[in-house]
Amino acid sequence: MTARDSLLAPLDVTALRRDFPILALKVNSKPLVFLDNAASSQMPQPVIDRWNLYRKAQHANIHRAVHYLSETATAEYEKARHKVQAFINAAEPRECIFTSGTTDGINLVAQGYGRKFFGAGDEIILTTLEHHSNIVPWQMVAEEKGAKIRVVPVNDRGELLVDEYRKLFSKNTRFVALTHVSNALGTITPVREMIAIAHEHGVPVLVDGAQAAPHLKVDVQALDCDFYAFSGHKLCGPTGIGVLYGKAALLEKMQPFKGGGDMILSVTFEKTTYAPIPAKFEAGTPPIGEAITLGAAIDYLTGIGIERIAAHETDLLDYATDRFNRLPGVRLIGTAEKKAAVLSFTLEGVHPHDVGSLLNDDGVAIRTGHHCAQPVMQRFRVPATCRASFAFYNTTAEVDALVDSLVRVQKLFA
């Protein structure tokens, strides 16, 4: 992959880092080196400010009262929906449903689409790379309906085998759910091609974009995906907010996921008429401040430019991969040609959990464990891995700190 498009101006990372108060933290008297961005990323000051403004001067319930605060909160909430629409290039704002996160969005489709349209003997295609949140909701509905799960395998580099995927389709295939970027390995999957293949069979596709949205330009119309789910907190926004994009025609024919206020037109004890989308899928008081703050996070990221972010992260990945390849006793798990800035690895003779604890002594934060992707761990025959995941505010100096810390661990266990 080319390191950087010559048209893109490099990031001034030193200046950007000053936007993130948490990055000045010391851990165990060492500067924090935060390399757990795939789990959750940090919030810059403009986004924190937006949260505070809402709390201080704009909070009330939305879509209800006629007073000033309710009108302001409603307008800001809907403005955030427009920002989401532009961010992923959805055709219409009503195709963007606010959820509590990616998991919530996937459950919404599994229940709202699957429970209505799946039946006995139907087949759902998933991939080996999926996070548990894109496996379990489908298993739940499959069990209820007597449907079956088929799984796309990966090669030793952690790349999906598209030819094998083609062979999984049958007259019974009803749905495909796949990740855009693997959380455990960083693999960028060929979603566009895989969506086109599914559509040749008339099968709709949900894309888990939790790991992709912070790092790649997402264009749901260009992808032609039927659903796309992502989370706010991996996007420098708050927890408790996410987005489910769905094509309007599909969302309209689905059944609601949750019942409650805000999702109805009228209610009697005999019959309830549901509201049109997106309200049909936003029962109850939503996370209003979180949605508005997500809008600010999107502004912040698009202000920098997702392409410039991706270019910087690719540089970091190339630098880190090169340093890791020179380190004896390190095994990289996941070496796909197209990768997001994630390094999953094991140290010979040292359990990942010990690595994580000892790196923390040096102020280096990584994730260790199965990353909620046990099928990936089983495929590569490891119980767990260490995972360093980079954001645009990370530096090559931080990669050096990681490598130095790993060398110290190796010496301790030598």
Partner: protein
Amino acid sequence: MDSRALYQEMILEHNKKPRNWGVLADATHKAEGLNPLCGDHIHVSLKLNGEQVEAVGFEGEACAICKASASMMTVAVKGKSLADAEQMVQEFRDMTTGKLDTAAAPHHLGRLTVFAGVRDLPTRVKCAILPWHTLHAAFAGSDTASTE
């Protein structure tokens, strides 16, 4: 707390060369221990002769803290009476959860006090305790133990 203080020579050495490694062919009691969060997974098997622990073995896939704890546990309980071993299980749990100050109060843990520092590392307490939970489960005749 700095976790490096916990990775003392004794723990590193038991991690590298675990004692009583393997499953006893003639076990009278067995249990499997799982720490779902980090993936520590061990099997403890033992042979009881009346009220005495005649032999004990373990194997599995685990971090250094868990493996060393298991290895030192097998050394400590081998030859002990069931009651004494259960007493150690209780004391080890109390020490690692901060209920027993081994520097001040009487105990029977001996060298196992190298694990006392784990009480200041909340994410690692489960790793140290898992083998002891599993031993207790084996004594009690249940097949599995979990730290969750």
